[in-house]
Amino acid sequence: MQDILSKYQTVLEADVTTWFEVGQVSDFLENSGACIKYKDKQIAVYNFTRTGKWYACQNMCPHKMENVLALGMIGDKDDIPKVACPMHKKNFSLEDGSNLGGEDYKIATYPVKIEGGNVYIGFSD
């Protein structure tokens, strides 16, 4: 199971080699999340309409290895944008993927850009 997790590694904007188009802005529910597929990866994409910001991370919650993070509720904790896993409410920072409950779980995050009404996620593979 660990090898499924290992395919998700954080990509920084500077390291992006492919900007992959995943749909139009209107395909993504406001102030909410949705899941997209890139190669064999499942990526959760979050549309923070209130701030006009977008975030992306692995869809798999590292706690119980379920592909559910896109379904989690988004919001903020002490001004850090976050998602709460729908399974056991583990909270993850969407800025750096760390667990906000101080636990040893971490998720990979990916850069998002919006151009011409389309949504792109940055990958390095």
């Binding site: 199971m1 499924i4 995943v22 749909g23 395909d27 993504f28 529910l29 406001e30 102030n31 909410s32 949705a34 899941c35 997209i36 597929k37 064999d40 499942q42 994409v45 923070f48 209130r50 701030t51 798999m60 119980k64 290895m65 379920e66 592909n67 559910v68 379904l71 989690g72 509720m73 988004i74 919001g75 903020d76 904790k77 002490d78 001004d79 944008p81 976050k82 709460a84 729908p86 399974m87 409410k89 909270n91 101080g102 636990e103 040893d104």
Partner: protein, 865 residues
């Protein structure tokens, strides 16, 4: 010491250099042997000391993981999450400069050279040595005890071994496999729960004639035994095991010639023995029956070696509880750091309160008492599995101890009265059953206990510590107090009392005690409900703009979604982004991220044709089917994209959503009533269907369940529900505020002999009043508990209309009833709404991570990793 050095060093050495020298030269080395709860607590308390920087701690553990909470070991079954039990993660040790060496046992101590040797033959030097090696399970020398399938219950590894073995012996068998637990003490009963959770039939075998012989008397043991047996745990008392039967693996236990039981697994939990081998090898003074002798400074016969926890023999006793272990850690820390006035008290409080398999059991002070010291007052109610005993001094002025089984909610107060010698009522029985007349309990306010009274015994926090953190410190709420004092973070048993103390202290400062819902809204649920209603707020985003801050979270979003539903009967289709995942997809998310589907089967009445439709749908989509506790059928294993297709077929056949996923009305359970039953008084099925259809889709602060029974035999278990109707001569008796679940509560009588119409009227008022005023995720029973005036007040509101609200409540409810529509029908008929039922936005593929394995004739998700 520092002053002394200072005088003797040449003046040319700068102060900084001195500090540096002292740091390396003078840093004392402490080695802690044993990384269990007490060893960890030693470290935690040590690093909290101001001058702890002058010491370097190395702690050794023989288990592969950092110290974990053994007291709650049986919780490992609920989540299989070893990390959740950790006292602190590995990083904590690093951050505090503590070297943690796991998986390595200490084999020898060389006192003359102050060195230890490890199992890897490494040597470490110490200035102070702290032995916190704890204890090992005592395994009696019974013929055959070495057989396969015999386990002890102490570590996570023991549990994993038991789990694997239990799986192996149950594989491919239809009958229930039996397993025994040897020992009916605290830990034995915990082990019995573990065994039961593994799917095995538990049998507890105890040598003594009663359970928990150290804590309970014979009568309380009987009450506990009856309760445990009703839950499926078999108890065998006064049994001495002669022999473990079987060849190779255990097949049974023999007590006498014709007395044996067949079991295929045995968990030995017959007490503990201190892990004192190291003390023996280096010739420390030992107790005759084991344990390393310590004085009241926790020093062994070698003053540089300390022993704490279950390995230490203090006052000729080994203390097998966490709280004294933590106190010993505190004493050792103080002694080493130089606060030599902190010593272990002569008398150690052995009071305990715990929840055993959901049953409250507590014992404090002297649970059993010889007649020459005082007298006892005993209260027993067999129908409710309750037992309470108090022991009072002859002059009737002091509480000396007692026992509580079945309901230990008075434990904290009784324990404080005992510990502090507080005055007790003239008629001591008021402590047990409350005084006659005013209906209040026999004890006064929580603020009456002295400041020095220890409230949290795990962390040694007094009432004064808690109150002063608010009145003199900068704590403003419960969270602050817990963060500052650590109270409640051990066993958690003191939480209700800490909450009361915090609230009372805040009130004493004139501060309003308010439970705000989260960091985004400075209001409680009732205030938000009123604000949204009065200001005609249209959605969550507007609520946040007007009354909140930030971007919300998983607490305030579903709560506000529920308020919109309660005010406008708004379905989750309108604001899907703020719904809990279940409500967002109108289905119940299950272990592997698939969903389950439950159509409404009002009152549990279903036609053969409807059964066939459900069967056909389940077959077509390959769903696991099971009858629920609410008399309906649950279909498991559907993927998001299948949900609309499944519901299309169900709706075409006349079904509608069962709202099993919502904090809303679930079911109204019924017995068959006078239509078929020869005892039935009224038509319970018809009435249950009417009520379920009236309140279907009604969203509330928590889920709502109802029941209607056709006679007092109560086959629908209506008193275990949020509202229940029981047919009697002359109409229906209406009960409210009961529930099953973790804290079962019987519903209490609201009104008697009602006709159908009045019953519905009272129900409308009751439910609407609850929906308006309850806190988030508070079910009706705890809501009633907190309602000032209790059931009498509720009767005034609902029946006598003391608030003048009755008509408004009825109208509001009628408005909601009129606006009901099936949210699944709404969703599948609207192409925009149906868009969200898709795993990927950019692909029609489905989740390829799902794996199912066969189970009996059906399937189940592959186990968690």
């Amino acid at each position: 010491m520092l002053w002394f050095f200072h005088k003797h060093i040449p003046y040319i050495i700068t102060y900084n250099y001195l500090v540096l020298c002292l740091k390396y030269v003078d840093m004392k080395k402490i080695i802690v042997v044993g990384n269990g709860m007490v060893g960890y607590k030693f470290c935690e308390k040590f690093v909290a000391q101001e001058n702890s920087k002058n010491f370097k701690i190395t702690i050794f553990g023989e288990e592969p993981r950092p110290a974990y909470d053994r007291v709650h070991l049986s919780e490992f079954f609920d989540n299989q999450d070893a990390k959740a039990l950790e006292m602190a993660p590995r990083e904590w040790y690093e951050e505090h400069g503590i070297e943690l060496i796991s998986n390595e046992r200490i084999t020898d101590i060389h006192r003359s050279s102050k060195k230890i040797t490890t199992s890897k033959d490494l040597h470490y030097k110490y200035d102070y040595l702290v032995l916190a090696t704890g204890s090992a399970p005592f395994v009696p020398n019974i013929n055959g005890i070495e057989k396969k399938g015999v386990f002890v219950y102490r570590t996570i590894e023991d549990l994993e071994g038991m789990l694997a073995y239990a799986d192996e012996i149950q594989k491919g068998r239809n009958e229930t496999v039996k397993a025994a637990v040897l020992g009916g003490g605290l830990l034995g009963l915990e082990a019995a729960k573990a065994v039961m959770d593994m799917g095995l039939e538990p049998h507890v075998v105890e040598f003594a004639p009663k359970l928990m012989p150290r804590q309970l008397d014979r009568r309380s043991s009987n009450v506990l035994q009856e309760k445990l047996e009703s839950m499926g745990i078999n108890i065998h008392l006064s049994k001495a095991t002669n022999k473990i039967l079987g060849d190779g693996a255990i097949t049974g236990m023999e007590f006498g010639e014709y007395d044996k039981i067949d079991v295929e697994m045995l968990v030995v939990s017959a007490g503990i023995r201190p892990r004192d081998e190291l003390g023996k090898t280096c010739d420390l003074k030992m107790g005759t029956r084991g344990g390393i002798v310590v004085n009241n400074k926790m020093q062994t016969s070698d003053p540089e070696i300390y022993a704490i926890g279950e390995v230490a023999l203090y006052n000729n006793m080994i203390y097998g509880l966490v709280a004294p272990g933590y106190d010993m850690a505190e004493v050792a820390v103080s002694q080493i750091i130089g606060n030599s006035h902190v010593i272990m008290p002569e008398d150690i409080d052995m009071s305990t309160k715990l929840k055993l398999i959901g049953v409250d059991v507590a014992s404090y002070g002297e649970p059993f008492m010889p007649v020459e010291k005082g007298y006892s007052v005993v209260f027993e109610n067999k129908t409710k599995d309750l037992y309470k005993r108090i022991n009072v001094s002859h002059d009737g002025k002091k509480l000396l101890g007692g026992i509580l089984v079945g309901d230990a909610s008075d434990y904290n107060m009784l324990h404080q009265i005992y510990l502090n010698g507080l005055p007790i009522p003239e008629d001591a029985e008021e402590l047990l059953i409350g005084s006659r007349g005013d209906g209040e309990g026999g004890f006064g306010s929580v603020m009456d206990i002295p400041d020095a009274a220890q409230v949290c015994s795990c962390e040694s926090i007094t009432k004064g510590d808690i109150c002063c953190s608010i009145t003199e410190g900068d704590c403003n709420n419960l969270g602050d107090v817990i963060a500052k004092t650590k109270a409640t973070t051990g066993c958690g048993g003191c939480k209700p009392m800490v909450v009361d103390l915090v609230n009372e202290s805040l009130k004493s400062l004139g501060k309003e005690v308010k439970e705000t819902i989260c960091e985004h809204f400075d209001f409680n649920r009732q205030e938000l409900y009123d604000l949204i209603k009065i200001n005609k707020v249209k959605d969550y985003q507007e609520t946040l703009n007007l009354f909140g801050e930030g971007h919300g979270c998983e607490i305030c979003k579903p709560l506000i979604a529920s308020i919109f539903a309660s005010i406008h009967m708004e379905t989750p289709n309108k604001q899907p982004g703020i719904q809990d995942t279940n409500d967002r997809f109108l289905a119940n998310i299950q272990r592997n991220g698939t969903y389950s589907v439950v159509p409404r089967v009002a009152g549990g009445e279903i036609t053969p044709d409807q059964l066939i439709v459900i069967g056909e749908v389940a077959k077509k989509y390959d769903l696991y089917t099971k009858i629920t506790g609410g008399q309906r059928i649950d279909l498991f294993g559907a993927q998001i994209h299948e949900l609309p297709m499944i519901w299309k077929e169900l709706i075409d056949a006349g079904f509608e959503s069962g709202h099993a996923y919502g904090k809303s009305l679930r079911t109204v359970k019924s017995c068959v009533g006078s239509t078929w039953c020869r005892y039935g008084m009224h038509e319970s099925v018809t009435f249950a269907i009417d009520i379920e259809n009236r309140y279907r889709g009604l969203r509330s602060p928590h889920k709502l369940k109802g029941g209607v029974s056709g006679c007092i035999r109560e086959c629908a278990e209506a008193r275990g529900k949020d509202f229940g109707l029981i047919a009697v001569d002359g109409g229906w008796n209406l009960y409210v505020c009961g529930n099953g679940g973790a804290t079962p509560k019987h519903a209490v009588l609201l009104a008697e002999q009602l006709d159908d119409e009045t019953a519905v009227k009272y129900l409308d008022r009751f439910l609407m009043y609850y929906i308006r005023t309850a806190g988030p995720l508070v079910r009706t029973a705890p809501w009633l508990d907190k309602l000032e005036g209790g059931i009498d007040y509720l009767k005034q509101v609902v029946i006598e209309d003391s608030l003048g609200l009755a008509e408004e409540l009825e109208q509001e409810m009628q408005g909601l009833v009129n606006k009901y529509e099936c949210e699944w029908k709404q969703a599948i008929e609207n192409p925009e709404m149906i868009k969200r039922f898709k795993h990927f936005v950019n692909s029609d593929d489905t989740d390829d991570n799902l794996v199912f394995v066969p189970m009996r004739e059906q399937k189940m998700p592959k186990a968690w990793v």
